[in-house]
Amino acid sequence: MFIRALFSLGMGILVLSSQAEASIKIQGSSTVGPIVVKAAEILKSNKDIDIVVDTFGGSAAGLSSLASETAQFGMISKEISEEDKKKYSNVHFTTHLIGSDAVAMVISKKLYDQGVKSLSLSQLKEIYEKKITNWKKLGGPDQKIIFLNKEPGRGTWEVFVKAVYGQGNVPSISHLEVGSNEEAKSKVINTPGGITQLSVAWAQKDPRVKVLGLSIDGKLILPDEHSIRSKKYPMARNLYLVSSKPLNDGQKILLDFLYSEAGQNIVEDYGYLRVRQNTK
């Protein structure tokens, strides 16, 4: 009786594992996540392709799960850096641009009203290196600066570091870590004197959070559509879906949908910038 039960259990598992998996796995950046989730909802209803999305771990997790084939698509909100290429040397990444966006330095509305309006890149560098620790020096109230740094794996962090340090090496300084954009935004709102890197789209949606303009050699640049497209705003970035293997038809449908008018509308609804044919 005991053996028969075990035998039937074994058979059951064998049958289950032989079926090919139908759904598409997508892992990666929480910036790109909402677009793909919305697209998945629409595709699920009419094309009956089920897409599984997970944003745990950010862009780096997207690339690593693509390399380990635990996902078919990686979502990254940064360029594929040399270091990534070196790290995943055996994997050939093909990027599919689905939109563009920018990273902005964000503070709570209360702090903004108290006088902190913009920062220069050098000031940003000193904040990051904990040389400036009080808002008083930047025209704000006497409040300790609390830098909420994006988790090391996140695309937003790499764009921020590339803009501030360019090709130079990045000093390893430990900061308070925040994971997804949603968490960064909620923590900045609740922490007096907090500042963090956040995607512009997320910042504009929520009145409780204010975007700081970046003044580069004296000229104040606000991250609006024009400055991002023309790359004048230093922390502009593209949003990619990355694949490592030739796409099967389910995956092609998803990509075509994202490039279609409806797909790009979703990108715009979330505050990101559409893909213009000319700025491929």
């Binding site: 997790a61 300790k144 794996g153 390893s172 308070l176």
Partner: protein, 314 residues
């Protein structure tokens, strides 16, 4: 097979009977030994895998893994002192906060008059044990953090999260475990000695400090060991409230600032995204595995401590 010298009138059935005397290996016994062997083998090989994989991190880092606090996996430097300190400090502090509550609470409950009230309070505390840790994390992040931020912001608490918040949350989580273990040992001891002690004219408090506490010490210590093991191994709730700041040591801003502000523990590091990121870089992965090994050794150490102590008197 003839049985000689046997009563003549036996019929054939008796012979049939004795024929099946040969040794028959029971299927259940084989199956159980196989399964138990398989599971033990799996856990042993997992442990050996852990040791083998983390050994090269130990070789490479050597003692600096334990003595320095510069965990920057980008620059391949893995000093994990801050992580060890974080785990130990949160676990010890949670025990310190929780000990009076569980100890004196259990003793007060033991002296309650009405049986009904006693059982219902005990059941209530046991119910707390079955609340999942993620719900405690939720309570921590939504209620405890803002509350502590208001009260301690004067003393330099920047964000609500930190080692103190984590310790308070952990002490709430391990309270039921400690409470019920200590209650069990108190009820056993007082059932045995209470009548005699009170008839000698001792007051309840004297009875507690002179008999129940000393005799119950092994049980109390073993419950602390269990509580420590559990607090050190807790991940999700601590991950939500500890603030996740790497390489923070009390030497920089003093113990007050260290406790009030964010830090990092082994479990929150293991629970973070680094496991995903470490997929392709063996160095990073083996450093994380060394962390996991130390955590396992710590909790198995405390639970074997529990075994030896509880074998003592309880």
């Amino acid at each position: 097979m003839a049985i000689s010298g046997f009563a003549k009138t036996q019929n054939s059935e008796i012979f049939y009977l004795f024929r099946d005397g040969r040794f028959k290996v029971s299927a259940t016994r084989l199956m159980s030994i196989a399964i138990v062997g398989f599971v033990t083998l799996i856990s042993l090989s997992a442990f050996i895998f852990l040791i083998w994989k983390s050994s090269d991190a130990l070789m490479r880092e050597g003692l600096s893994f334990f003595s320095t606090a510069n965990w920057h996996f980008r620059d391949h430097s893995y000093g994990a002192l801050a992580l060890f300190l974080g785990t130990v400090v949160t676990a010890v502090f949670s025990l310190l906060i929780c000990a009076p509550f569980s100890l004196f609470g259990a003793w007060a409950l033991q002296n309650l008059r009405s049986e009904k009230l006693r059982l219902s309070i005990e059941a209530l505390v046991t119910l707390m044990a079955s609340v999942p840790s993620v719900v405690y994390g939720l309570l921590g992040i939504l209620l405890l953090r803002p509350a502590l931020l208001q009260t301690f912001s004067f003393y330099g608490m920047e964000t609500g999260g930190g080692l103190l918040t984590a310790s308070i949350l952990l002490s709430i989580m391990i309270l039921p475990t400690l409470f019920s273990l200590q209650l069990e040992s108190f009820s056993k001891l007082s059932k045995k000695y209470q009548e005699q002690a009170l008839s000698l004219g001792l007051s309840r408090t004297k009875f507690f400090w002179s008999i129940v506490f000393p005799l119950g010490l092994p049980a109390i210590l073993s419950s602390f060991a269990l509580g420590f093991g559990r607090a050190a191994g807790e991940t999700v709730a601590v991950f939500l409230v500890i603030g996740r700041l790497d390489n923070k040591l009390p030497t920089e801003g003093g113990w007050i600032d260290y406790l009030l502000n964010a830090g990092q523990s082994i479990t929150t590091k293991l629970g973070g995204p680094e496991i995903f990121i470490s997929y392709q870089s063996p160095q990073h992965e083996s450093a994380l595995l060394l962390l996991a090994l130390c955590l396992v050794l710590m909790s198995i150490g405390t639970s074997s401590l529990l075994l030896t102590i509880s074998k003592g008197k309880v």
